[in-house]
């Protein structure tokens, strides 16, 4: 099970990268560029709050998992 935890860590890293790509290109940046006030607020929240937490957190979590930090015996 610890081996599964370790290798699945790579999936979290890939998921973080995919979330960053989709989040910024499909949702965040088009909203920032739309010029509408309500879109601007939404875009700022997505680009500067939600995505950094999701992407940064998942990257570090995946890295820790891959480094066996969540090994049950550790």
């Amino acid at each position: 099970m610890n081996a599964v935890r370790k290798w699945v860590g790579l999936i979290w890293i890939l998921l973080a990268i995919a979330t960053a790509f989709v989040g910024y290109s499909v949702m965040g940046l088009p909203k920032l560029a739309s010029g509408k006030q309500e879109d601007l607020v939404f875009g700022i929240i997505i680009c500067f709050i939600l995505l950094p937490i999701v992407v940064g957190g998942l990257l570090v979590f995946g890295y820790y998992a891959f480094k066996n930090e969540y090994d049950i015996h550790k």
Binding site: Q37, E38, I49, L50, G57, V60, F61
Partner: protein, 510 residues
């Protein structure tokens, strides 16, 4: 022997009532979002005004993690009791003042700015409150009852929403619609100050948590809880695990069951606002005892799989549930009794001298449902005003369901509240057990408020974006597309929780 020694019952009572009041304060803003938007944001475009309020709502959620850091640090240094008394007073003061701010028409741009500032203070206070209350109760509770006793704190979020709906409904009942719209909406904000004073007086006489007092007496409290919590890999990895393996999924399930359901019925299904309030009230009342049940159960069979089962069932059930909800109010599947339609035309004079032509059409359906369609056309020189070649008009649709339809929705919302109780009932005990006493307040508060505030709090905005985009792109079941956000977040959280969370329950008196 200290005469002021508190019983467990009074510990739970004092903590829960105070936390419930904080949630009440926080939710009346959301429950009154529509009326607030017309009072504090520039008039003319109701959608823009509503979105502005939603953004302010989100700002209230986004700031919560900062409150968790600020007050969590204080709670780990000076103690749980004093910290969560400060948060209570801060919240009560901010809420009361929201009810006192003159409208945009009176003081101009200062009105929305002041609302935003007070809303941010509310978010900060809430960020500090929950962790303090949960830690305080957990540190009083025996190991084998921690899930059950902390689940009383877990009922407070729903109870706060429940009481906010109750106070708003009572205020609406006592006043006419015009009085409520003019000044009555302020009453629920003013009521808060009385509740806060009572709760403060109760909390003032409580003692510090015995676990924290022991740690402090032996010099084991932290000098820099922030650095220990997030600068130390041994602890930070558990902060991440708490967030991605438990609280993130819990947050979206909580907000789907208790807020998105409400918004879906009002905005997507166009159900009468009063009917939505009353059916939410009944569903929440029916569901609330299950927080205690699942908290109790988590003491018997463990916390992890109760929470994860709640997530998994929600992931699988959300789309069928929302499809059924939508069909309950879908007028296209009902037969209209055309001969009974009533159209009332009128001319409405506005304060600025302009006029609107208003048509109110009431339609009756074979199952007893009633739909009211209001069209308000702005006039200019006696003709309908046009902007960019289009008629300048506002439309509003409202459906009033039969009792049978209302009860169908109550059961469908109740099922969602059950999911909420599964994921939320045991989570306070689960988080408390993850972290040591010296940094517990700080370490558990941050993931809790990121999971609930950021992932959960942004759910209405993200889900509305997804469903609106789907509608614009002609997707047939566009009204279900917003659910992909909670389903996706909960699915990732389920897998992480199932793989990485250790079931072993720890003692917390370290």
């Amino acid at each position: 022997m200290n005469k002021k020694r508190s019983s467990l019952f009074s510990v739970i009572g004092a903590s829960s009532v105070g936390t419930m009041i904080e949630w009440y304060d926080f939710y009346i803003f959301g429950s009154l979002a529509t009326v607030i938007s017309t009072k504090f944001f520039p008039q003319g475009n109701p959608t823009a005004a509503f979105l502005s309020t939603l953004a302010t709502f989100a700002a209230g959620f986004v700031v919560r993690p900062f409150g968790a850091l600020f007050f969590g640090r204080l709670g780990d240094i000076i103690g749980r009791k004093y910290t969560f008394m400060v948060t209570l007073l801060l919240m009560g003061g901010a809420t009361f003042l929201i009810g006192c701010i003159p409208s945009y028409e009176t003081i101009g741009f200062a009105a929305p700015v002041l609302i935003l500032v007070l809303r941010l203070l509310q978010g900060l206070a809430l960020g500090g409150e929950y962790g303090g209350a949960a830690t305080y109760v957990a540190e009083h509770a025996p190991d084998h009852k921690r899930g059950f006793l902390t689940s009383w704190i877990q009922t407070t979020a729903t109870a706060g929403l429940f009481v906010s709906l109750l106070v708003i409904m009572a205020t609406r009942n006592f006043l006419t619609a015009a009085q409520f719209d003019e000044w009555g909406w302020r009453v629920p904000f003013w009521v808060s100050i009385f509740m806060v004073v009572v709760s403060y007086l109760i909390r003032r006489n409580m003692e510090e948590s015995p676990v924290f007092a022991k740690a402090k007496a032996s010099g084991k409290t932290s000098v820099n809880p922030l650095k220990e919590s997030f600068g130390n890999k041994l602890n930070f990895k558990f902060v991440l695990l708490a967030l991605f393996g438990a609280v993130m999924g819990q947050g979206v399930i909580w907000y789907t069951g208790q807020f998105y359901a409400m918004s879906f019925m009002e905005k997507t299904m166009n159900i009468d606002k009063e009917q939505v309030d009353s059916l939410m009230f009944i569903a929440l009342m029916m569901g609330t005892p299950f927080f205690l049940f699942f908290g109790w159960l988590s003491d018997k069979i463990g916390r992890k799989w109760i929470m994860l089962a709640g997530m998994l069932i929600a992931i699988l059930a959300y789309r069928p549930i929302y499809e059924k909800m939508y069909q309950v109010g879908n007028l296209e599947t009902k037969t209209e009794l055309i001969g009974r339609n009533v159209v009332i035309p009128s001319l409405q004079k506005n304060n600025d001298g302009s006029s609107d032509s208003v048509f109110i059409t009431t339609q009756f359906y074979d199952d007893g449902s009633v739909a009211v369609h209001t069209e308000k056309m702005h006039l200019e020189n006696g003709r309908v005003k046009t902007v960019d070649g289009k008629k300048s008009m506002l439309e509003n649709r409202m459906t009033r369901l039969t009792d049978a339809g209302k009860w169908k929705l109550i059961w469908l919302v109740f099922i969602q509240v059950l999911f909420v109780t599964m994921v939320y009932g045991p989570i306070a005990a689960f988080l408390v057990e993850m972290f040591p006493t010296r940094i517990r307040y700080t370490s558990m508060s941050l993931p809790y408020h990121i999971g609930n505030g950021v992932f959960g709090g942004l759910l209405p905005a993200v889900a509305t974006y997804l469903s609106t985009s789907a509608k614009n792109n002609g997707v047939e079941q566009w009204y279900l597309e917003g659910l992909w956000y909670p389903i996706g977040v909960a699915a990732v959280c389920f897998i992480i929780g199932a793989l990485y969370i250790n079931r072993k329950v720890k003692k917390i008196d370290d």
